[in-house]
Symmetry: C2
């Protein structure tokens, strides 16, 4: 069914019953964070009063796994057991969450896309969805990270919006996926307001900020809502640089005062970066008052792999590349990579001096500067 036919069908259902057709939700992605998110969404769509279709479709990249001695498809095992046995083992998902491996089909039968994929797949996912998306649909990006090069900063929510021709908001917060899946009390921040700026006149007007919040709000998962899509996305990416600095301090054994100072300075630089590159679109409160800012920073600087690798970097003297191999199974250390991208951008704009902490992290990780000099590099700014 094409996008326009899907929209027509939706209208027919609505006019036939007299009541608007319930909004159909898809979760695009099924890693550990995708599964935790899909579980929450499917719990909420069981409440008919919220106006969503009960069934939530989760697009799952098909894999063959060894399960109970047999080769099985991951989607089939999920739909039998309602567990993502590969990426979120032991967590039971609701019966109304259905795994599907056909992305175009998922796209066609959905009005709301919750996108939770690794950022390197954004391009190819959007390409596959294009032509199967109704122009009344909306999206919410739960993708961590931003694209930075020497020319500027690009938000993945903007990439999705441009590629699919629909509004895309963002969700980010102090959310370690396993803790959310275990229903330990957490908060998150959603920036979602399709009416803002009036750029998407075809967006289904029922999907406003409050409706999106209702899709995620649980007794154990509390939602704050704001308008600032850029701030949410920037905070979720830039905090990784600060977490590297926190790990350096922990590795040096400098104590709680120093670490708190690093986190404070880091948060102020994060906001400053947002203001420089996105102007008043970025709000101060996003960084200082919401889960996506201060709380996510605290979580990342307390635990997390950026901090851990940076600690080992100081303690062992190994290069960050070596530690990535040893500790992250080939994944990139986001905080280090982001510090490099940001440094290239700041150098190009002649703004290095405005960001002493970001710069210090880059110099220590990539230019062989001594970690002991971290606080001297900050202290020079009095």
């Amino acid at each position: 069914m094409s996008a326009s036919r899907a929209a027509l069908r939706l209208q027919q259902v609505a006019s036939h019953t007299g009541a608007p057709a319930p909004l159909r939700v898809a979760v695009i992605g099924s890693g550990n964070w995708g599964t935790a998110i899909a579980k929450i969404v499917a719990e909420n769509t069981q409440d008919e009063a919220l106006g969503f279709a009960r069934q939530v479709n989760m697009w799952m990249f098909e894999e063959t796994i060894d399960y109970e001695g047999r080769q099985r498809k991951l989607t089939e095992v999920f739909n039998e057991r309602k567990q993502n046995v590969k990426y979120m083992k032991g967590i039971d998902c609701p019966d109304n969450l259905v795994a599907m491996s056909d992305l175009t089909k998922v796209a066609e039968v959905s009005d709301v896309y919750i996108i939770v994929i690794p950022h390197q797949f954004v391009d190819s996912i959007c390409r596959q969805m294009l032509g199967h998306v109704s122009r009344s649909a909306v999206a919410l990006s739960c993708i961590k990270g931003i694209h930075v090069d020497k020319d500027g900063v690009t938000l993945f929510s903007n990439v999705i919006s441009q590629r699919l021709g629909i509004y895309c908001g963002a969700l980010s917060g102090a959310n370690i996926a396993s803790e959310v899946a275990e229903e330990k009390y957490s908060e998150t921040t959603i920036a979602f307001n399709p009416a803002h700026g009036n750029s998407f006149p075809h967006a289904d007007q029922r999907m406003d900020t409050a409706r999106m919040k209702s899709l995620f709000q649980r007794p154990y998962f509390r939602i704050g809502t704001i308008d600032d899509v850029a701030g949410v996305s920037l905070a979720g990416a830039l905090k990784n640089i600060v977490a590297v600095a926190a790990g350096l301090v922990d590795g040096l054994g400098y104590g709680d005062n120093t670490k708190a100072a690093i986190m404070r300075i880091g948060l102020v630089e994060m906001l400053h970066f947002g203001k420089v590159f996105f102007g008043n679109e970025v709000r101060t409160a996003t960084f200082f008052e919401h889960s996506c800012g201060i709380a996510d920073l605290i979580t990342s600087c307390s635990g997390g792999r950026n901090r851990k690798c940076a600690m080992e970097f100081v303690k062992t003297g190994k290069s960050m590349e070596q530690l990535e191999k040893e500790l992250l199974q080939g994944q990139k250390l986001q905080g280090a990579a982001t510090s490099k991208e940001v440094h290239e951008l700041l150098t190009n704009r002649n703004m290095v001096g405005q960001f002493p902490l970001f710069t210090a992290v880059y110099r220590i990780v990539y230019e062989g500067e001594s970690a002991e000099k971290l606080w001297l590099m900050l202290g020079s700014k009095s």
Copy 2:
């Protein structure tokens, strides 16, 4: 020498040499934080260019101690060894820091009072100093805490100011005393501006914000300056309530998401409390951007005795009174006591519902509410 004679003497010296007499600094108090502060100040007054008298007098409550097998006065041992062997053992202080046990004499020969004493001694110290203080003198309170009862909130900086008839600012930050003494990189916040509001026309105009900053700024101790004396003092007291909540969460084993949420909610409630009781005198940035706010909160929720006692409270089921006795050698757990005082005030003003986290801490510690209900008490506010 009386206060007026002291002022006259100062003028004579100034007119005789043609240059203004250097400002004479006293540190009132010599516990661990007082000693760390006095060490910093005395390091800075060695730089003649800053315009302070080289010698810094530290008022020390006289005690007889057993030192190298003999009964000795603490002041004498300090002045011989330049170590506070009772409260900051192993830390060498500069030669120009002199311990004195005569409070009235210290008051008379000083233009700047840095006051670092336990809050319960503020009344008696001010009473002893009164009549020996020049009206051109100024003070800076490094006292942690606020006085709260059902009628309102009183800042110790205001108490000092009213009792001594001079301007009093405040200093607070993420400052574990031993780490500062060991010269580990730290930051602090000073709110000091005698010209603000023009209430102290006799204050020595040389002692402005920049001059006070110069008295504390060290390569390892970085100073942020603001005007908001109330905010600095409130943040340093209210964060202890949040640290109790953080300890409860740690005791329950709820994980990093929950703890970060508690800290975020706590910081927002701290600011709200300030705005309710001090209006626009209190600035948002004091809590979110400065060391006295976010950074001190992080330090207290990571370590510190409030967090530790609250953890044990959950794990052992013992009462807070019992844990105070066992863990704090008779000291009061500040966070618990503050939560009670704040609760009485909020009840009296019919404002309990506006502060769910502060209220939850009070109910759990004093009214037998289950710690597991902490997040339910917060979650109800959607």
